[in-house]
Amino acid sequence: MSKIGLIIEREYKTRVLKKSFILLTLLTPVLLVALILVPLWLSTIKADTKQHIVVIDKSGLYESALKSNDLYTFEFTNRPIDTIRNNVQETSELTGILYISGNLATDTAQVILYSDKQAKMETVSYLSGLLDKYVEDQKIAAYNIPNLREMVENSRTDIKITTVKWDEDGKEQESSAELALIIGMLSAFVIYMFILIYGGQVMSGVIQEKTNRIVEVIVASVKPFELMMGKIVGIALVGLTQMLLWVVLTVGLSTILGGSLFAPSDMGELQNMAAMSAGQSMPPMSDNMAAEIYGMLSGYDFIQLLVMFVLYFLGGYLLYASLFAAVGSAVESETDTNQFSLPLSIPIIFALYAAIYSAQNPDGPLAFWCSLIPFTSPIVMLVRIPFGVPVWQLILSFTILVLSFAGTTWMAGKIYRTGILMYGKKNSWKEIWKWLTYQAK
C-alpha cells in the first residue's frame, strides 16, 4: 500500500471507530425517524380518550344532530348552567358544556363551548362539523327541491394545479414546486453542514498534528502534500460513510417502524386525524394522494440528483478542506484560528443565504452567478438542480469548481508545507503571503 493510502487508512479508521462517531451515526437516524413517527403515533393514541359533553339546547332543535358514539357522549339537560359548572369542577370526566342559545340557521354564532380547560381544537372542529352538516341538511331540505342534495355535492369543486416540467428531451415530467424546494434546500443544507463540520475536522486534525509535534516525524517519511491530501481524503470518506449510513438507516428504520406501527387500515383514520387537528375543512385525503406524491417523486431522477449531490459535496469539500488545512497549519493552537477561519466561513454562510434566495427564483441572476462561483456553487447549485438546470451550466459550474479546488489545494499545499514546521510563532496574513510566494527548490 502506498504511503498516502496508509495516511488515509489511519485518518479513516481512527475517526470511524471513535465512540462519538458511532453514536452520532446510529442515533441521528433514530432521532430523525422518531421525530416523524412519534407525533403521528401519539395522534392515534389520543383518539382513545372518551369525551363527555353536556348540551344545553335552548332551541331544542339539535338533539338529533348530536348523537353519542365511541368517542363522544352527549347528555342533554335543561338545568341552569351555573349548577352544572359546579359539577364540572367536581367530575373531571366532563369535557365541557355546549350551550346552544338559538336557531343556528339564522345566526351561526349562537353556540358556546364552556370548559375549565382550553377546549381541544379537535373537539371544537368535530362539534362544529356535526352542527354544520346538520344545519346544512336542514337548509337543503327546506328548499323542498328534489335531488338538491346531489346537486350541491356535484357543484363542489377542488381545483388542483399540476405543474409539469419539460426535461431536456422535451418530455413531460410531473413536478411539484414545493417538493423541488424541499429536496433542493435539504441537499443544500446537508452540503453546507458537511463542509463546515468536516472542513473543521480537517483544520483541527492539522492543528493536533502540529501541536503534538508528530508532524515532523511523519514529513520525514512522506511529503507534506501527501500528508495533507491523505487527511483530506480520509475525512471525506468518513463524511461519505456517515451520509450513506444515515440514508440507509433512516430509510430502513422508517420503513420497518412505519409499516409495523401503522397497519394500512389505520392510515385513513390517521389522515383524518391529521386533517382534523389541523383545523382545516380539508376533504379527506383520497387514496390517490399517496400515489400522486409517489408520482411526483418519481418525476425526479434521483440517481442524477444523488450523483450531483456527491459530486458537488466532494468538490465543495475539497475546495474548502484544503484551505482549512492551510489555516490549521498556520496557527499554533485552536484558539488562534478565528482570524484565519472567518474569511473561510463567511463565503460558506453566504452561500447558504444565497441558496435560500435562489430557491425562490432558481433561474434568477443571483442563483445563476452563485452557482458558477466555486465558493458558493456547491450549495447554491444543489438548490437549483431539482428545478432543472441547463446542462451547459452544470458542466461549466463543475469545471470551474474542479479547477478552483485544484488551485486552492496547490496553494494550500504551499502554505501547509511551511506552516506545519513553524513552531512558537503567531503568523500574520503577511507572513502567509511570504510562504505562498516563496520558491522552494
Partner: protein, 300 residues
C-alpha cells in the same frame, strides 16, 4: 557516508545556513552542536529531505539524496510527539509502515523491541496514558525499528531518567557496532565527549568548529596539568621558566598541584623539570571539556 557540500538555506528574511559543509564518516557517531537557533534543525531537515537547500548538495553514499532515501534514515526530532488518542502498538505500526516496512516485518520487529525495552504491556494503551519518558521510549523504538543506515537523533536523552538514558545510550552504541551511522545533536556535552568521534559546531548559521573530538580538545589545550605527589612544592620553584604552580586541597595525604606551562615548553621538558624536584605519583594534562570549548567558541 554522508557528505554535505556548501549548503545554504534562506528563510524569508534570514539566513538559516550559510555555506555549511561537513562529512560524516560511516559507522561513527557524529556530533552536531550549536546554540539554539543556530541552524541545526534546518540542517537536519535538509538531510531528511523535509526541505531542500537553496544551494549546495547533500550526498548519501556519494549520490545526491532523494526523498526515497528517507526510508533508510531514522529521525528522532527534538520536538517530537505521537498521536495522543491512538494506541501505542497501532501507532508504532503506522509509523513503521510509513517507513516502508511490511506489516508482518513491522510486527515482528516491534515485538522484538517491545520485549527488549520490557514494554509489551503498553501495546494497547493510549499514548495519552503514557508519561513523557514512556512516550520517548516508544518514539526511540519507532525511529530505529526499520534498521536505518543513517540515524539522526536530536536530543535523544531529554526526558529520560538516568536509568533509561543509560539504556538508550547502550542501544545507540550497539547500533553503531552494527554499522549504523549516527548524527547526534545535543546540548549535553558530556554525552558528546563520551559518544562522538567527530563534531561540527554551528553558530549563527556558520560552522565554527569541526573535527575529531580528541583533536579539538588537544588543540584547545590550555597547557594545564594536574600533578599528584607526596612532596611539597614551593609555588615559585619553577618560576624561571614561567611555570605556575597552584596548590590544590590534597586528598589521602597526596599533594595536588595545578601546573600551567607556557605554550613554548613541551610536555616532556616540563616533566623532566618536575622529575628533578619531586617524586611524581601521577601527572596528567587537563584538557578542556567540550562544554568549555562550546562556550568559548560560541561567545567569541
Amino acid at each position: 557516508m554522508l557528505q554535505i557540500n556548501h549548503v545554504s538555506k534562506q528563510y524569508a528574511g534570514h539566513k538559516a545556513l550559510d555555506d555549511v559543509s561537513l562529512h560524516v564518516p560511516a559507522h561513527s557517531i557524529y556530533g552536531l552542536l550549536g546554540p539554539n537557533g543556530a541552524g541545526k534543525t534546518t540542517l537536519i531537515r535538509i538531510i531528511n529531505t523535509i526541505t531542500g537547500p537553496d544551494s549546495g548538495e547533500v550526498l548519501l553514499n556519494g549520490k545526491r539524496i532523494t526523498p526515497e532515501d528517507a526510508l533508510h534514515i531514522g529521525y528522532l526530532p527534538e520536538e517530537r510527539g505521537l498521536y495522543k488518542k491512538m494506541k501505542v502498538g497501532e501507532q508504532a505500526l503506522f509509523l513503521a509502515r510509513l517507513k516502508g516496512m511490511g506489516k508482518d516485518d513491522a510486527l515482528k520487529a516491534l515485538k522484538f523491541w517491545f520485549e527488549k525495552f520490557e514494554i509489551q504491556s503498553w501495546w494497547n494503551k493510549k499514548v495519552e496514558e503514557l508519561s513523557k519518558g514512556m512516550a520517548q521510549k516508544v518514539q526511540f523504538i519507532t525511529t530505529v525499528l526499520h534498521e536505518p543506515e543513517l540515524l539522526i537523533l536530536d536530543e535523544p536523552f531529554s526526558g529520560f531518567d538516568p536509568v533509561n538514558a543509560e539504556l538508550v545510550k547502550k542501544e545507540i552504541l550497539a547500533l553503531r557496532e552494527k554499522g549504523t551511522t549516527i548524527i547526534l545533536s545535543t546540548h549535553n556535552m558530556a554525552s558528546v565527549e563520551e559518544l562522538c568521534e567527530n563534531i561540527s559546531l554551528i553558530n549563527q548559521s556558520h560552522i565554527v568548529l569541526q573535527g575529531n573530538v580528541e583533536k579539538i580538545r588537544t588543540a584547545h589545550s590550555t597547557n594545564t596539568f594536574l600533578l599528584r605527589t607526596h612532596d611539597t612544592l614551593a609555588e615559585s620553584c619553577l618560576a624561571d621558566c614561567n611555570v605556575a604552580i597552584t596548590p590544590q586541597a590534597g586528598r589521602n595525604k597526596l599533594q595536588e598541584y595545578i601546573i600551567g606551562k607556557p605554550a613554548s615548553m613541551t610536555n616532556n621538558e616540563l616533566l623532566s623539570r618536575l622529575l628533578g624536584i619531586c617524586t611524581i605519583t601521577s601527572f596528567e594534562e587537563i584538557l578542556p571539556t567540550m562544554n568549555e570549548i562550546f562556550i568559548k567558541t560560541v561567545s567569541k
